[in-house]
Each structure stands twice: as structure tokens, then as C-alpha cells.
């Protein structure tokens, strides 16, 4: 079975996404270390996207074998209702997922500790300014020299706290 056949017949699950976030993290770091900064930053942005999605769905009670996609529509509706000015960018916007997570926790009466929410927000805003899925169409020279260092620092900070975000 080819990779395409596998992906088309196996909807991605929570567990897939969690494992993929770890794979992309180490691949992204290796690329950064090898001097492939654009490709490294590109992969690391996805790590944050997956960590945030995972936290949102975990907080909703998703289990490891649960499919991810049926959970996307309700998050889009939540965004339209609670923070309509923030687009989901085809479900890739880190700022969108940050707000989904904060809102879900707020509605459930279990907000993130304020210090953590602030620090997470600061780091998400910084990664958001350096990363977009569309960067794949741009040459490496568009990357700011500070990007690799900042993205490394922020992604690790978020990845290390992934367990706390969705609990």
C-alpha cells in the first residue's frame, strides 16, 4: 500500500497526531542544526499546530483512537461565535487554535493559569509572525536571521508543556 493509499483510507487519529508531532519536532531540529532553516522552521510550526489541536481535543475528552476531522467543524463554529475576527486559515492558524483552547477551558470553568496563558500567548504570537503554511512557496532568503533561534526556543517551550495544556 502506498503512503497516499494509506492516508486516504485511514483517517488521522489523536494518537497519529501526537506521534507525528514528535516526529516533526526532531526532524525540524535536525534540519535547523544542518543549516536548513526554512525547512526546519516550516516543520516546527506544524509541531505547534498539532500540540494545540491535540490539547483542544484532549480537553474535550477525545481518546487516542478518535478521528480528528469531525472535531474541526465545531471548532470553526466556536471561533465564528467567540472570536470572529480570527480566521482559522484552513485550520492551520496557531492564533486560532490558541484562542480555541483558551475559550474551551474558560467555558468549562478550568482556564489555564494566567501566567501560563500569557506566556503561551506571547510565544504563539511570535511563532505566528514567523510561520505560515504558505512559506513553503518562498525561498530560504525570506527567513529572518532570528527565526531559527526564536522558533527553536518557543516550540520547545510549548512542546514541553503539551501535557498541561489539554488536562
Amino acid at each position: 500500500m502506498t503512503l497516499r493509499d494509506y492516508i486516504e483510507t485511514h483517517p488521522e487519529t489523536m494518537q497519529d497526531m501526537e506521534l507525528a508531532s514528535t516526529d516533526r519536532l526532531w526532524e525540524g531540529i535536525e534540519l535547523l542544526v544542518a543549516g536548513r532553516q526554512s525547512a526546519g522552521a516550516y516543520l516546527l510550526g506544524y509541531v505547534v499546530e498539532m500540540v494545540l489541536k491535540n490539547a483542544c481535543f484532549l480537553f474535550d475528552g477525545a481518546r487516542p483512537a478518535d478521528e480528528i476531522r469531525p472535531r474541526l467543524g465545531p471548532c470553526r463554529s466556536l471561533g465564528k461565535q467567540c472570536f470572529p475576527a480570527i480566521g482559522c486559515e484552513n485550520y492551520h492558524s496557531l492564533v486560532f487554535w490558541y484562542h480555541v483552547l483558551l475559550r474551551k477551558r474558560y467555558i468549562a470553568g478550568r482556564p489555564l493559569p494566567s501566567r501560563m496563558a500569557r506566556e503561551l500567548g506571547r510565544r504563539i504570537a511570535r511563532i505566528h509572525s514567523m510561520w505560515t503554511v504558505d512559506m513553503r512557496y518562498y525561498p530560504d532568503r525570506q527567513i529572518h536571521p532570528d527565526t531559527p533561534g526564536h522558533i527553536y526556543d518557543d516550540v520547545f517551550w510549548i512542546y514541553d508543556r503539551r501535557g498541561q495544556l489539554g488536562r
Partner: protein
């Protein structure tokens, strides 16, 4: 059997038409047939919505989820859900897919 020189391509279902049909079923449910709408949970608990419908064929799960939520967002009066923010799953399944997952309306 006649030999033909042209194929008619089946078009994927139009999402606005599906929204209209699903909205109609939600507000004026038929006694039988599809779509079958299953609401699980709710009342201050996370709510899961399943819609079993063969018209989903050709749409991916994200599109199905969005169509269901587009309908939910526009429900009003007695049909409106108490709190849309409590919906955590909106899943569209064909009969075959529902069978495979072991899901059926009680």
C-alpha cells in the same frame, strides 16, 4: 450493449444543497429514510452530532463536519441547540461507514 463514446462524470454533492436538505430534515424530520441525525450528550455536557447519510459520498470528513455545523449555527427556535459551544464532534457518515464503525441510531 450499445457502445458509447462519452462518459458522464458524477459531480460531487453541492454543499449548499446538502445544507438545505439537512436543515429541512432537522426542522421537519421525516418518519423514515435519510439523513439520520443522532444527537448524543448535551445538557451542559459535550455534545456529539452524527449524521448518517449516503449523500456524504465524495466529501471528506472536514467538509461534512463543516456542513453539519453550518446547519447547527442556523437552527432557531425550538430546533436550536442550547449551546453550540458544547458541540465537540460533528461527524458525517455514509451507511457503510457507520456500519464499519458500529454506529447506528438507537
Amino acid at each position: 450493449m450499445p457502445i458509447r463514446n462519452r462518459l458522464n462524470r458524477t459531480l460531487p454533492p453541492n454543499s449548499s444543497e446538502l445544507i438545505r436538505m439537512l436543515m429541512e430534515e432537522w426542522t421537519k424530520p421525516k418518519n423514515e429514510g435519510q439523513p439520520v441525525i443522532v444527537l448524543e450528550g448535551g445538557k451542559e455536557q459535550p455534545q456529539h452530532i452524527y449524521v448518517i447519510w449516503d449523500q456524504w459520498q465524495g466529501l471528506d470528513q472536514t467538509q461534512r463536519s463543516e456542513i453539519i455545523m453550518d446547519v447547527v449555527e442556523h437552527l432557531s427556535g425550538p430546533h436550536a441547540l442550547a449551546d453550540i459551544s458544547l458541540v465537540t464532534v460533528a461527524m458525517g457518515l455514509t451507511t457503510e461507514e457507520a456500519k464499519r464503525l458500529g454506529i447506528e441510531a438507537a
